[in-house]
């Protein structure tokens, strides 16, 4: 049991950077929320609430767990908005200064353009271009068909190019 757990921890550490980047993408580049989502996802994996069934690679499975956990966090936050007490402790929706600082101008433009895409387009482009997954693997992470993934990928890419060229013309 301990050996298995050590192996799982080693695998998590190996994919940690990619998982954190994916968590950031799922949380709208909110660093604090991404860290929470990642810790919750790791807990799910380590205590057996999320079980790897070897139907995909470990990395794409982990990405699926992180994506579902991020969705749960979003729902939870949406519910908390209805509580009067939550008005005071509501998180600031502006980007985290630690995240925003230190990026070059071109990557700032890329992040700004990505934020205007639909969630599915943004996730697909991140998985394909940032995480170097194939469209089929990305479709598996998002739980959609390859045809649907390809459509969103092409539209997202086209829109991103338009936005970046518009930004460059300014």
């Amino acid at each position: 049991m301990e050996i298995a757990r050590a192996n799982v921890e080693a695998e998590l550490e190996r994919h940690h950077a990619d998982c954190f980047a994916w968590a950031m993408a799922c949380c709208g580049r909110d660093r604090a929320e991404a860290e929470d989502v990642l810790q919750t996802s790791y807990l799910k994996v380590l205590d057996g609430r999320a079980v790897f069934a070897s139907r995909s690679t470990l990395k794409t499975w982990l990405f699926g767990v992180i994506r579902r956990t991020a969705a749960e966090h979003r729902r939870w936050r949406a519910l908390r908005r209805f509580r009067p007490a939550s008005l005071a402790d509501r998180a600031d929706p502006s980007p985290d200064p630690a995240t925003a600082a230190g990026h070059s101008e071109s990557t700032e433009r890329l992040a700004a353009a990505l934020s205007t895409l639909t969630t599915r387009q943004r996730e697909l482009l991140h998985l394909v271009f940032y995480q170097d997954l194939t469209i089929a693997e990305a479709a598996g992470v998002l739980g959609i068909s390859i045809g649907t993934a390809r459509t969103h990928y092409e539209r997202g890419k086209q829109r991103l190019r338009q936005l970046l060229s518009l930004e460059a013309d300014r």
Binding site: Y42, L43, D47, T99, T107, F129
Partner: protein, 126 residues
């Protein structure tokens, strides 16, 4: 891969490089792993809440002591709403015993006279 794709890939690679430096160090949530009994505790808590709710929602089966106002039965009378149907013409005859008077008041009977002939033996004149 088109030139546009290469350009996008280059931008994403640059973003990835910049993100690498800001990735928090991996810390396995070993000490914060939820112990195994915690789900059972949640189930027990939920069962307790349901039990309390059932007990509170159950209708009260103990006899209730209700104070009823004292009623003087002597001053009350019940009247059937269909009493008027019994008021038929001549109904007073059914409620009273007809008086036939005292035998002294009857007309004197003549024992020597001809006894009244029973109707069944009476002869009709031909």
């Amino acid at each position: 891969m088109s030139d546009d794709d290469r350009e996008l890939r280059k931008l994403f690679a640059q973003l990835k490089d910049e993100d690498r430096g800001r990735t928090p160090s991996f810390r396995a949530p070993a000490m914060t792993v939820a112990p195994r009994w915690r789900p059972m505790a949640r189930v027990a808590l939920a069962a307790a809440i349901v039990g309390i709710a059932v007990v509170l929602a159950r209708p009260d089966q103990t006899p209730r002591i209700t104070v009823r106002p004292a009623v003087d039965l002597g001053t009350t009378a019940w009247r059937s709403p269909t009493d008027f149907l019994l008021n038929t013409p001549g109904s007073e005859l059914l409620r009273s015993v007809p008086s036939v008077g005292s035998p002294d008041d009857w007309p004197s009977m003549n024992p020597r006279g001809s006894a009244p002939v029973p109707e069944s033996t009476r002869r009709t004149p031909s």
